[in-house]
């Protein structure tokens, strides 16, 4: 059963089309990754699922029924920019957020999550005394403390050190194992590849990718040569049939033009230098992302 169904939803802000005729379904119990450059429509889509903003046209259904006010009690939402009352004590804050959602056994849930994320000792401290990483963990607990069936996390890993990022990742996967559906947005393609059952990419308000990682990669085929040579990237220059070189220092990834024979490329390189390893692989999500949004993403980042 699909837990979220977005049907032909469009949302504009003045003349700017934030989400354009979006069609998306999220199956229950999965981890769904939203990717896309900044300003592509990820947050707008999430806010519409949360009923914070309303679509101009189209419909959104959650839990098998039309989205309504009470639906959001069953959804946990963590916005991209964290919002915590600085003067509140952590336990009181979490109880408050849990009770706003109408959560049951909020107190025991708060204790459980504080312990799980190593924050028990901070329960009676004020939020303003926390580091950024700890604040983010508190925000995560505030999202899940009411035991929602669906959680929506906007950039949950941004700004976290690897230890805290792992803690949140483990918590997300544990929730999924217990049957919770998770939607999260990320700019970290490695995380999306490793954690998500489904990946959805939105670009300029339009859906450009949607499916499992394998199905997305299948669209692009095995057009990448991953090679390691004694001469590094120099050996890969001016090769016929190669449209792009991605240099990682020790290894290089070469994107082949369509209908190109990898054997010819290998021969050309071997004529120049000694080849240590040679693989033909599918493009990574990172590579696919760049192929779709490369120029625009750069512009957005520099803007």
């Amino acid at each position: 059963m699909d837990i979220v169904e977005i049907n032909n939803v469009t949302k504009t802000f003045g003349k700017y089309v934030a989400v354009d005729d979006l069609l998306l379904t999220v199956p229950r119990g999965c981890v769904y990754g939203f990717i896309g450059p900044n300003g592509s429509g990820k947050t707008t889509t999430m806010r519409m699922i949360m009923n914070i903003i309303y679509p101009d046209s189209g419909t959104i259904r959650v839990f098998g029924e039309q989205l309504k006010k009470s639906s959001t009690d069953r959804i946990g939402y963590m916005p991209e920019e964290r919002g915590l009352y600085k003067k509140m004590k952590i336990r009181e804050l979490l109880q408050f957020y849990g009770e706003l959602k109408g959560g049951k056994n909020v107190n025991s849930s708060v204790d459980l999550w504080l312990k799980k994320l190593d924050l028990s000792g901070w329960a009676n401290n004020k939020v303003e005394s926390l580091s950024k990483g700890m604040s983010q963990k508190v925000q995560f607990i505030a999202t899940v403390v009411s035991n929602p069936e669906l959680i929506i996390l906007d950039e949950p890993f941004s700004g976290l050190d690897p230890v805290n990022a792992d803690t949140i990742k483990d918590a997300v996967l544990e929730l999924q194992a217990q049957g919770t559906t998770v939607i999260f947005s990320t700019h970290d393609m490695n995380v999306a590849e490793k954690m998500c059952d489904f990946i959805f990419m939105i670009f300029k308000g339009k859906k450009v990718l949607d499916g499992t990682l394998a199905s997305i990669q299948d669209i692009y085929g095995s057009d990448i040569i991953r090679i390691r040579t004694d001469d590094g990237s120099r050996a890969c220059l001016d090769l016929k049939g190669v449209e792009k070189i991605n240099d990682f220092g020790n290894i290089q990834e070469l994107r082949m033009t369509p209908n190109c024979d990898p054997q010819e490329i290998l021969s050309a390189i071997m004529s120049k230098t000694r080849v240590r390893s040679f693989d033909i692989v599918k493009p990574s999500l990172h590579d696919i992302f760049i192929r779709i949004a490369g120029t625009e993403a750069k512009e957005t980042t520099h803007a």
């Binding site: 959804i75 939402y77 916005p79």
Partner: protein, 435 residues
């Protein structure tokens, strides 16, 4: 409703638990009544240093009476009879012969006052008994003559002697007309009414300034303070929650209207708490001081009714404006026009106190944002207002409160998620009308 009340609870606790609230609760009455307190404390702090005053008496008939009266005062009034402690300065008058060059004499005496060898000097004209002639003035020269006690004091013995001299000139025996100069004042009384219990005519109450002015001003100040405590902070509070992204988290759980109402009701709770502390504390203190009869108990239910509606009405306005702000500067610029609705009634206090039943007072008390102030002043004054007027006032306030909450909710829904350029007041009004 459950969510509104949960947010209300948080708002209330967050406000009343702060040191700022407790300090404001204690200090506000001190600031408001500061001058009264200072006056009470400094009442007995009188300069008891003797005051030496020179008399230049051109009439030749009045210096002696001043010296005699001062001697009497110095022997009877300047020492506390129980403790023998000096509580007032002695007035030490001495005469000098009037000079033929009065200006030079005045300059010389002024210099003595300047170098503190003299406190002041009095110049009495030549023709004091019949002032229609020239040179019939009394002039008092001192460093601060306008606020001087001695200047006021010398008027009594001089005028008393002048009356006697004038009667003598007219050939009238002063002892035969000793009531001639008894001044009779008109006493201010309230209106006479019938005692509903006994049916007898009740004696009218004596009107006094405390009841006529002090009670309405205290009620007005209390209402102003409650709006300052309960409604005003909502503008900044919403602006902060918006800029710190708390609003977005909350909107994931509650609707914008629930959000706004939770904030407003929190403000109502805060001001109810503060008002209860002030009213209970004030009534207790006034009764202990023996002025219990001046407590306008009949006004208190109206005060609380007006306050509840006013905080809701202004609270909705301030939260709505707060939602449109993107930084503290916006909050500052939006606060001023909104505060005018609260400040204008404060500026109108003098004409309202002078003519509480005038058509301007009546009409302005029916304008809902002004009702909690102006109607309250009019009700607090002796004579009160016709019973239908406060009810119409409350009805108008209810209509305006519903309107403000409805419009405020529409503004809040758009404003709380708006980013970028700060909207102008015209845009905000458009949000309220068009949604």
């Amino acid at each position: 409703m459950r969510k509104i009340l949960r947010l209300t609870k948080r708002e209330f606790i967050a406000s009343v638990k702060t040191k700022g609230f407790i300090i404001a609760l204690l200090l506000a009455p001190l600031f408001m009544g500061g001058s009264f307190i200072v006056m009470a404390i400094t009442k007995d702090k009188v300069d008891t240093k003797d005051k030496k005053v020179v008399i230049v008496d051109r009439s030749g008939a009045l210096a002696n009476v001043l010296i005699e009266s001062a001697n009497q005062r110095n022997s009877k009034e300047i020492y506390d009879q129980k403790t023998g402690k000096k509580i007032k300065p002695a007035y030490l008058f001495e005469t000098v012969t009037p000079s033929k060059k009065p200006e030079a004499q005045r300059l010389e005496l002024s210099d003595r006052v300047r170098n503190d060898s003299l406190y002041a000097f009095v110049e009495i004209g030549q023709n004091m008994v019949h002032p229609e002639k020239n040179d019939s003035r009394i002039t008092y020269y001192a460093k601060n003559a306008a606020m001087d006690d001695i200047r006021r004091w010398i008027e009594w013995p001089i005028n008393d002697r002048l009356r006697t001299l004038r009667l003598k000139d007219a050939g009238i025996d002063a002892s035969a007309v000793k009531d001639l100069f008894v001044w009779v004042s008109a006493e201010g009384m309230g209106l006479v009414s019938v005692d509903t219990g006994t049916g007898a005519v009740k004696e009218a109450k004596r009107a006094n300034e405390a009841e006529a002015v002090l009670v309405p001003i205290i009620m007005l100040m209390l209402m102003f303070m409650m709006i300052q405590i309960g409604a005003m902070p909502l503008l900044n509070s919403v602006m902060e929650e918006k800029t710190q992204r708390i609003a977005e988290v909350l909107l994931g759980s509650i609707t914008p209207f629930e959000f706004m109402m939770g904030k407003v009701l929190g403000g109502v709770g805060v001001s109810l708490t503060a008002a209860a502390v002030y009213v209970i504390g004030g009534v207790f203190t006034i009764n202990r001081m023996g002025y219990g009869e001046y407590v306008p108990y009949y006004i208190l239910p109206w005060f609380f009714a007006y306050m509840l509606l006013a905080i809701t009405m202004f609270g909705a306005l301030f939260t709505a404006l707060g939602s449109a702000c993107n930084d503290p500067r916006d909050a500052q610029s939006f606060a001023m026009p909104a505060m005018l609705l609260v400040l204008i009634p404060m500026f109108l206090i003098t004409p309202i106190l002078r003519q509480p039943q005038g058509s301007f007072s009546i009409l302005s008390s029916f304008f809902p944002p002004f009702t909690p102030f102006i109607m309250l002043i009019r009700q607090s004054m002796p004579g009160g207002v016709p019973i239908w007027q406060p009810w119409i006032g409350v009805l108008g306030m209810i209509v305006f409160t519903v309107l403000f909450v409805w419009g405020g909710g529409r503004i809040f829904r758009i404003g709380i998620l708006s980013q970028g350029e700060t909207p102008k007041l015209g845009n905000i009004l458009r949000w309220a009308v068009r949604g």
